[in-house]
Subunit: 335 residues, 2 copies
DNA sequence: TTGAAAGCGCTAACAC
DNA sequence: GTGTTAGCGCTTTCAA
């Protein structure tokens, strides 16, 4: 790979001049500019991004931490961040953390090593203290899908508790009182918020949600299938299922159908997120809309802005809480 | 952000020694190592990845070019690459190109600027010549989902034509002869291969596929819906739909159902890819399996290997063609 | 309008 | 074992 020196030699100018040309600086005569451009083309030269970053002390790269690219929810998030970043001419570096504390930390560290000043982090598992710490060290550190009061001006979040509350309230209104809740690994932040919301709706309605009606399972269709299998095997009685997300819901529907229980006639099911799948599965899924695309865009813009201002937070706006909304389709019937 | 010099000062050693410690080089006494480590912790120091890359002349980063992260197909691909890269301690840099020639080229260029020596590229639209050119310049350049003879030892591909052929052969065997084909933008590589396969199956069966039975639409559910709407509006008669991918198929099913045509009783539908959606939509979709996860893993390993060998291709293996297989579910009936 | 020179943060010879 | 030095490819003063 050729360097700026090679180009300068071929064009018969100094490296500085070549630098001026590739950076569109003015103060270069049209003639030399032309010569340089030709040399660049001839040598197929691309300025080394690392060298540039090193001297400029900035990369214009936004780092993204999330757990699982292949999950449609995160895929939408990634896409939205990317589109937004492009608008601001920023590059995107994605680092995945999975549901493991050490990995999540590493993901952030590797982004730090890349000297990303802007970061959008979807932490599922790190402690609040550690995240607050990061926020204080990294100017453009933004948390998405999570709320921590101490750094609320850097949190873009959905009110998950409200979402859980909505699901439960709706299903109770529909006349179901034997409800099965499919949650996920209890250390996962949003899962616990949603569960809290569900429980508070039960309490408010003076109903009881027995502990054995809560099953913790993996957040994918297989998880949904397994959970239903298990509930049925344990003889748990239920006429409704509240799933952690749409993928789990869809797996639950599949297993219920397989066992001769039709949805929504025998069992009602509610998902969460409203990903593509929810609209096209059968029956179309009643679910809670998670406006992740809008939120990701906001998070990206905030991260970029903060990193420019060296972390100085704007005075006017200081909270970014989004509201979940029930999308009623066909997977719920009167109980 | 602190530098190696700051650390060396605080620890009372030379920068070289610090470098030795962070690189786990031997020849450092336990005592100094301890001092240095303490200083590192105290200053919260992370070695600057760009500076490192610059002097080492290598980044251990694999670049990925693809069009659309939010498509589940690509999401699986990204995930598989990531998992594989991690095994080899390589970082992943994703650059998206969309279905636009200039953007695709830019995506590759920006990866070049980052000095990625290994690259997995899913090109939808660049010309063969240009791709061959890149392959000659970039040691670890690997093409995924595309076959170009001149660089076949760097191509990981599915036999799309065979896949198209299989779909069509199966639907013809099932007794359908009024078939609607939902393809996508005709410049897209795999779409054209699949279409060619479909056509050759028709020819071989001495059947005719009229030109107005081929509709070009966007590769997502909305595209499927629109295409069906259009076909119906134009009074085209069909009892079977061959879709470009599962997302299109699922959209088609939704629109057909909406119009009072049930699947598979009135119309049979076949998808392509076998993404998660295919198994959980209604009815479960008969589709063509695209083993993208395995292929992505292979591509990653190949790219990494080639980049280590400076592009020298191993002698033993020299072709990576994968076979599509029909997965029979419930969206096809006898015609 | 152009060039020389210093330096970004790190590693790798080569001394000692 | 440890330090000194040069240099990776680029940008940016400062001079000319």
């Amino acid at each position: 790979m050729s360097t700026i020196k090679d180009v300068s030699k071929l064009a018969g100018v100094s490296p500085a001049t070549v630098s001026r040309v590739i950076n569109n600086a003015n103060g270069v005569s049209a003639k030399t500019k032309e010569k340089v451009k030709q040399a660049i083309a001839e040598l197929d030269f691309y300025p080394n991004a690392q060298a540039r970053a090193l001297v400029k002390q900035s990369t214009n790269t936004i780092g993204v931490v999330m757990s699982e690219l292949s999950d449609p929810f995160f895929a939408i998030m990634a896409r939205s961040i990317e589109i937004t970043a492009e608008k601001y001419n920023a590059n995107v570096l994605i680092s995945t953390g999975s549901l493991n504390e050490e990995k999540e930390r590493q993901a952030i560290n590797s982004l730090q090593a890349q000297r990303c000043k802007a970061m959008v982090v979807n932490s599922k598992i790190l402690s609040d203290e550690e995240l607050i710490d990061f926020a204080h060290k990294i100017p453009g550190f933004v948390l998405i899908n999570k709320y921590i009061e101490a750094i609320q001006e850097r949190c873009i979040w959905l009110d998950n508790q409200q979402g859980g509350f909505n699901m439960a309230q709706y299903i109770l209104e529909m006349g179901h009182s034997n409800v099965l809740v499919l949650s996920t690994k209890n250390k996962v932040y949003d899962a616990s918020r949603r569960l809290a919301g569900i429980q508070s709706a039960f309490t408010q309605a003076h109903k009881i949600l027995p502990a054995n009606h809560i099953i913790y399972t993996s957040p994918d269709p297989q998880g949904g299938e397994k959970a239903i299998e298990q509930a049925l095997a344990n003889g748990i009685k239920f006429t409704a299922v509240l799933a952690y997300n749409d993928a789990v819901a869809v797996g639950a529907v599949a297993k219920l159908t397989e066992k001769g229980l039709s949805v929504p006639e025998n069992v009602s099911v509610i998902g969460f997120d409203d990903v593509l799948l929810a609209n096209y599965c059968s029956p179309p899924l009643t679910t809670v809309k998670y406006p992740i695309a809008v939120m990701s865009q906001k998070a990206t813009e905030l991260a970029l802005t903060l990193s420019k201002n060296e972390g100085k937070v704007s005075q006017t706006i200081n909270t970014y809480k989004y509201k979940p909304i029930i999308i009623k389709r066909s997977s719920v019937s009167w109980g």
